[in-house]
Amino acid sequence: MKPTSPEEREIEQASAEVSARYREAANDEPPARLDAAILQAARGEIARGRVRRHWRMPAAVAAIVVVGVSLSFMTKDVIDPLPPLEQKGGADASRNAPAPAEMAKPASPNLAMKSDAAPAARQKRDFGARPSRDRGDRADRDSGAREAGENAMADAAPEPGAPPPPAQVAAPTAQAPAASAPQAAPGGASREEEARVQEGAASDKLAEKKAAPAAQARRPGSLTKEEASGFVGPMPAEPWLRQIEALVAQGRETQAKAQLAEFRKRYPGYRLPEALRALEPAPADAPK
């Protein structure tokens, strides 16, 4: 502080005199144990800071990994690429499993109507959003008894033009629900189907193909041609194709073509084996 006024100059002079005497009197120092404790604390603080820094990076990496993996799983559920067809077929096959009679049988007409409409609506929603194996996955995940019953009712009933049966055997209990659903007239179901076809969504077609058989009225005990031969419901693609190939090998080309046409209706985008492509009716329908 440079003295800029007589007052400050006076302070400076007084300070010089007093300071010299004060220095002679006051030469106290902190004890060594305090010095050691404080310096130790200062070093300890640095060490703690390093430990904190060392924790930060692994913790941050671990957090990023956990969040990333979680997000990838969540994204996989939402945006699922087109699935391998084996899985799709597998999902369908799992839905073909015969349902217990008590689950498949509607408790009331309302329930029966609901069971007819709900799967179609749900499938429409599912197919519209995710035309993939998610259909099967979602059906598996929706494990409530009511939905299970609805799915069983929708899936266990055979399609009108279902291909001839593989070696699968339809349990009688699986046919009971379809037979016990006479409320929905075939005409109504077909009109509904037409309306949805006009929407132009291929996925909707698939949904309605699954819903229509369930709504189709049949006399109890009556069997379709396919049921009579042991086939009910959609069939997984790979076994189906093997069966068609077997028909070709046996020289039953007409039946094989009919089966292939049905197959193509159910699995429009499926890539056929080389041996079966020749049976395709038109190039427009050739597998992609």
């Binding site: 502080m1 440079k2 007052e7 400050e8 006076e10 302070i11 400076e12 007084a14 300070s15 010089a16 005199e17 007093v18 300071s19 005497r21 004060y22 220095r23 002679e24 009197a25 006051a26 030469n27 106290d28 120092e29 902190p30 004890p31 305090l34 010095d35 404790a37 404080i38 310096l39 604390a41 200062a42 070093r43 603080e45 640095i46 800071g49 390093r50």
Partner: protein
């Protein structure tokens, strides 16, 4: 350890001080920088605290608390003022906290009190006569210092031990520059009059 120069002269002549750099290096993990910083300020800060609180045991406690606060502030330290200003600001607050917990003794008697309260150590190698003379002079000055009003003593010690300028004293004590200057001026005047043997005036009007 060299004794710090007079505060006003130090502030005027030092210019940029590396104390802040040392503290920044300590913030970044350099323990030796803190050791150097501590070595520079330990004596002055200890004497500042000791003259304020009056007893060594209490001074030890407050002194350690000051440095612990400095250490704890390491990670968020920014150069916003001289390090000495920062350090003595913390010390001033710690002393105030100490007085809130334990009110200061008024008119501490150096003649009747324990020898420890004088805080005038002398080298063992000194002759007994010199030691006695030194001790007597120290008693007189320190007694005069202890009898100063708290604000004047605070201003004197900040100036003398911390090397703070009038502006910095004002900043640390939370008053205007003129008030700080007045307090320092009165403190110096009383101490000088004590030194010249004219006695200590009544300081009730000077706070």
């Amino acid at each position: 350890m060299p004794a710090p120069a007079t505060g006003v002269r130090l502030a005027a002549e030092m210019g940029p001080t590396p104390d802040e750099t040392l503290m920044l290096r300590y913030r970044d993990g350099d323990a030796r920088a803190f050791e150097e910083l501590y070595a520079r300020h330990r004596g002055g800060l200890f004497r500042y605290v000791l003259r304020q609180v009056g007893f060594r045991a209490a001074a030890d406690e407050v002194f350690q608390e000051v440095w612990m606060r400095i250490i704890a502030a390491r990670a968020r330290y920014r150069v916003e003022a001289r390090f000495a200003t920062f350090l003595y600001h913390v010390a001033h607050n710690c002393v105030m906290d100490h007085f809130r917990r334990k009110p200061p003794l008024q008119l501490l008697s150096f003649d009747d009190g324990p020898e420890e309260a004088l805080q005038v150590p002398a080298p063992a190698s000194e002759q007994p006569e010199k030691r006695a003379q030194r001790s007597q002079a120290a008693r007189e000055l320190l007694r005069a210092l202890a009898l100063l009003p708290d604000e004047q003593r605070d201003a004197f010690l900040l100036h003398e031990e911390g090397g703070l300028t009038l502006e910095e004293i004002a900043q640390v004590t939370g008053v205007g520059r003129e008030t700080a200057k007045s307090r320092l001026r009165y403190a110096l005047a009383k101490l000088r009059s004590e030194l010249t043997g004219s006695g200590i005036e009544d300081e009730a009007d000077v706070a």
